[in-house]
Structure formats: C-alpha cells, structure tokens
C-alpha cells in the first residue's frame, strides 16, 4: 500500500496543472516543492504579487490561476521541500526544515523544470555578474530593481526582462545581443510552423518594440564577452561588435543564453537521456504522455525538453490523464477525449520552438569558452585546464571529473556540465560518443546527520 496515489515534484506550471487534474478526479496527491511558494520560477511569488508589481506583466499574473487550483482537499503541498532521492517503487525522499523523510506512491511526476544555461566567459564569477533570470527572481520575490544594468546574451527571456525593467522604471543601460542576422535568416525556414504560435511571436515583437520606444541602445552580433571589476565594484564589460572592441561600465551585467532541462533528478532516477541537438542539451526520454522507461516515473514540462510555461501546463495535464487511466479512473477512450484540448495547446505552444531554438542558439564561445574562463565555479577549474586534460587523452565527463575535480563541488555539475560537454565535443580526439554525466543521490547536498536519521529506510538490494 502506498502513502498517496501521486507524488508531484515541482510546483511550476507542469506540476500544478497535473496535480489539479489528478486531485479533481479523486487521486490523493502529495506535492513537493523546493521554493517557499508554489509557482515555479516562471510564476514565482505570483499569488503574493496579486494586485501589485503590475510591471511583471499579464502573462505572469495569469499564473495565479494555477496556484489557486492547488487549493483542493486532495492536494497536500509541502513547500521548502528539497527532493534528494527517487528510488524504484517509486519512493521519494526529501529534506524539509532540517529533517528528511520518504514517501511512496503509485506514480511520481518529475516536474522540476529548467535552469538557465550557464554563460561562461572571463569574469562571469565576479559579484555584479548574474543570470538575467536571477535578477528577475529578485524582482518577483523582493521587489528589487537592477540599477544601471546591461543585459547581455540572447533569447526571449532577455527581451522579457528588459521590458519588465522598463515598465518598473529601471530601464537597462543597453542590450548586448549575440544573435546574428545570419542566424535569424537561417531560422526563417521555421517561421511557417511558428505561425501556429503567432500570438507568442506577436508578444515577442511587442517586447522588442517596447525596448526600442524606451530608447535602450541595442548591439547585435556581439562576441568576445569579458568582465572585470572596477575599484568601486562596478563591472567593466568588454565585447566586440563586428571587428570593433566596445566596453560598457555597469553596476550589473545580466547574462542569458536560454534555458536547459535540469536533469539531475531524472538522470539519478535511471531514466534514459538523449542529446537534443536543436536545443543543445540533454533531455530525458519519454513518450507522448510523459511516461519513462522507469515504472511509475513520469516527466512533464521543461524538464523533458524546453517548451515554455504554456507547453508545460498542457503536458502536465496530459500526464495526469494518463496516470488516471493507469490507475483505472478512466479508460483509454475517455483519456484521449479529455486529452484533445491540452494536446492542441501543446502543439501550438511547441510550434514556435524550432524558430526560437535556431534564432537564439548560443554562440560557440559559450560552449567552448576562452582558456582563462572558469568552467567549474565550485572547484575553480579553467577552460584551459580542461583543454589540457582533454589533450592528454580523456574523452568523457567522468575522466575529466576524476582528473580535475570539475563538477565535484556542491552544485554537482549544474554550472559546468554543459560547458564540459561543449569542450569535449570541440576538442576530444577520436570519435567517442559523449554520454551524459552520471548523477547520483543525494542530488542536493544534505547534512550527514540528516541522512543518518533516516536509517530506518531499507535500501534497494541493487
């Protein structure tokens, strides 16, 4: 007998919509979320911001509906719960308030979403350099507005953050964008398909128009990022546009090169992963309902491949419907009938992705950065050291890790795995396929005492 019918890990759009569908059909749902409030990163603090901070926009405010739907007697939401282990069974172990515990369920939905792709360049570790999404989290959760900031990189989020900053009265000093006219032209072949998501495209064009109206200078096709610290703590940001060297002095350098699935939990759970070359990231393999090769484990949302919030909410609904069928709450016909609407929403939301992926693909300098760039922030390993190690023979994540400690710090590779793969694929000799790095539990650091207090739990003989 299991503790609940369904454990949902992650209270972003995918997890929230799945939990609501499952609970309304009578399933007992346990929801575990690492943050203090439901919403995920995209709708972070959305319930608390109702009626204020309107500069975050209407698309953000709409997330409040998903959070409200969690108010259901069949849903128990535990916020501040960090899952660090998912076992066969399935069983889930999490840490909350300094103590860990384990629950079992017939089904587990991994809806842990995405992280920003690391943007490594010389100086990206300095105080004053931050991901644009991190600054947006500060705007959403603490009403903190970036002062004298430069936004640098590429991707839709860069425009959204710029527009939110303009509406909040703290327009960025400049946008330094890496995408090129050539890249945009190359992406045009995906435009016909993207027309199914025309509303999203129009929203993007509206953001760019807002940035233009606000008079924010835009540099495009920028390269050779480098940051140094001034005596007063300001950041001196230098880059190139065409052959010309430029530099800007700013209080904050906010970088962005898109988002990638966070795969520590899915890799540690033994789910198969494959390389998505269009999105330049590993993603877990699942069928059209989010079911994986591990019994009882399902995935929905950006953690299964980047599609955005609307795609995530639709995918969460589809996965919940499939779980309802597997638990005998409905037959396949009823499932398919109810799936028609979210399936159509998913199609529309995904239609624009090939265009975005091609137009805003990260340039090579962030996949395989200059030698004097820190690759592993935790263990302070440079790209030069990784290149030298690769030159001596290693051709996989594991060998680099054991020879340089790259990826062995507390972030467990979340900040360097992508760059390490970029360097391996650019530099490694021979034709060895690069396999995803291993991830093991605990997938987040926890205190030894907390783990020891869990000793009543029987381990799998495997």
């Amino acid at each position: 007998m299991t503790d609940v019918d369904l454990i949902v890990i992650g209270a972003g759009p995918a997890g929230m919509s799945a939990a609501a569908v499952a609970a309304r059909s009578g399933l007992r749902v346990l929801m575990l979320d690492e943050q203090p409030q439901a919403g995920g990163q995209i709708y972070r603090n959305v319930a608390q911001n109702q009626g204020r901070r309107s500069w975050l926009g209407t698309a953000y405010a709409q997330g409040a509906g998903l959070v409200e739907a969690l108010e259901h007697p069949n849903i128990e939401l535990l916020s501040g719960a960090t899952v660090w282990k998912v076992d066969k069974g399935p069983r889930v172990t999490w840490s909350r308030g300094g103590a860990s515990q384990t629950s079992s369920a017939a089904h587990v939905l991994l809806a842990t979403g995405a992280q920003e792709r690391p943007v490594p360049f010389p100086g990206w570790t300095l105080p004053g350099v931050m991901p644009a999404g991190a600054a947006q989290i500060l705007m959403k959760t603490a009403g903190m507005l970036p002062q004298n900031a430069v936004l640098a990189g590429s991707g839709p989020l860069l425009y959204l953050v710029a527009a939110q900053m303009i509406d909040a009265g703290c327009a960025p000093q400049a946008l330094v964008e890496t995408q090129t006219t050539r890249g945009l032209l190359g992406a045009m072949r995906h435009l016909p398909r993207a027309m199914f998501g025309a509303a999203t495209l129009l929203k993007g064009l509206g953001l760019i128009a807002k940035i233009r109206r606000a008079g924010v200078p835009r540099y495009t096709a920028a390269s050779d990022f480098r940051a140094t610290a001034e005596r007063n703590g300001d950041i001196r940001f230098s880059f190139r546009v065409a052959a010309e060297a430029r530099s800007l002095n700013c209080g904050l350098l906010l970088t962005h090169q898109g988002v990638v699935p966070g795969t520590h939990i899915t890799r540690a759970a033994g789910i198969a992963h494959s390389w998505n070359k269009d999105q330049g990231a590993y993603q877990p393999e699942c069928d059209r309902w989010g079911a994986t090769n591990q019994p009882g484990l399902h995935i929905a949302g950006d953690g299964a491949g980047i599609g955005g919030a609307e795609a995530a909410a639709a995918a969460g609904e589809l996965t919940a419907l499939n779980i309802l069928r597997q638990l005998g709450k409905c037959d396949a016909d009823a499932r398919d009938q109810r799936a028609a609407s979210p399936r159509a929403a998913l199609f529309r939301a995904r239609a624009i992705r090939p265009f975005l992926d091609a137009a805003y693909a990260p340039p090579a300098e962030f996949h395989a950065p200059a030698d004097d760039t820190i690759v592993c922030r935790c263990e302070e390993v440079s790209a030069g050291a990784v290149r030298q190690a690769i030159g001596e023979g290693p051709h996989g994540h594991r060998q680099i890790k054991t020879s340089l400690r790259c990826g062995m710090g507390p972030c467990q590779g979340r900040m360097c795995d992508a760059t390490l793969r970029g360097l391996l694929s650019a530099e490694a000799k021979g034709n060895h396929p690069i396999t995803p790095p291993r991830a093991r539990s605990p997938i987040k650091p926890i205190a030894l005492g907390e783990m020891a207090a869990l000793s009543l739990i029987k381990e799998d003989p495997a």
């Binding site: 570790t125 991190a134 603490a142 004298n148 972030c411 979340r414």
Partner: protein, 105 residues
C-alpha cells in the same frame, strides 16, 4: 562592505526584520530570502573561494551554491533558499569550511 547595492528595493514590501552580518545589524524586508537581503544591502562579495576569489549570490534558485554563508552557526547554508529571520546571525565565509563546524581553520 563598501560596494553599494546593485539594486533599488521598492518600498512595497511592508514589515522589516533585523539580522546580523559579521556582527553588524542589517535591516531587510520580511519575507524575502537571505540572499535577496544580502544583495539589497551591498554589492560586495559574501563568500571567498578556496583560492580567495570573491563571490556572491548568483542563480537565486538553489542550484549554483555561490551564496553559501554561515547562518546561526551552520556553515555552507544556501542564502537563496533561506528566508531571512529576525535576529539571524550571518557570517561571510572565507575559504573552505572545516568538518567540525562553522570555524574556518
């Protein structure tokens, strides 16, 4: 901590709490994370690496571990995952932690 904050905090946040950073009192809006409170207070580092490089909160979502500080005697606490509380005693970390607690050797 001579570097001014890189952020302007809106006055919409309501109640305030007071915590201690390296023995000095700091005021922060109630309900925000410790990392947000530290960034609102100063743009300077909150941790130095083993090699002495300055770092501060970076990802704000619990994945990069650059915001590690000592909180009420517990070292290596993620400031971005910790709500700021009245009377909290926070210390910046220099270098690596030793195994026996919050003191660096």
């Amino acid at each position: 901590m001579s570097v001014a904050s890189r952020f302007r905090t809106l006055p919409d946040t309501g109640d305030c709490v007071q915590f201690y950073l390296d023995d000095l009192p700091v005021t922060a809006p109630a309900g925000v994370t410790l990392a947000a409170a530290l960034l609102a207070h100063s743009g300077d580092w909150t941790r130095q690496t083993a090699q002495g490089a300055p770092r501060t909160a970076f990802c704000m979502m619990g994945i990069c571990f650059d915001c590690l500080v000592e909180v009420d005697g517990t070292p290596n606490t993620q400031a971005c995952m910790t709500p700021v509380r009245e009377g909290m005693v926070v210390r910046r970390q220099l270098g690596l932690r030793s195994l026996n607690g919050g003191e660096h050797d």
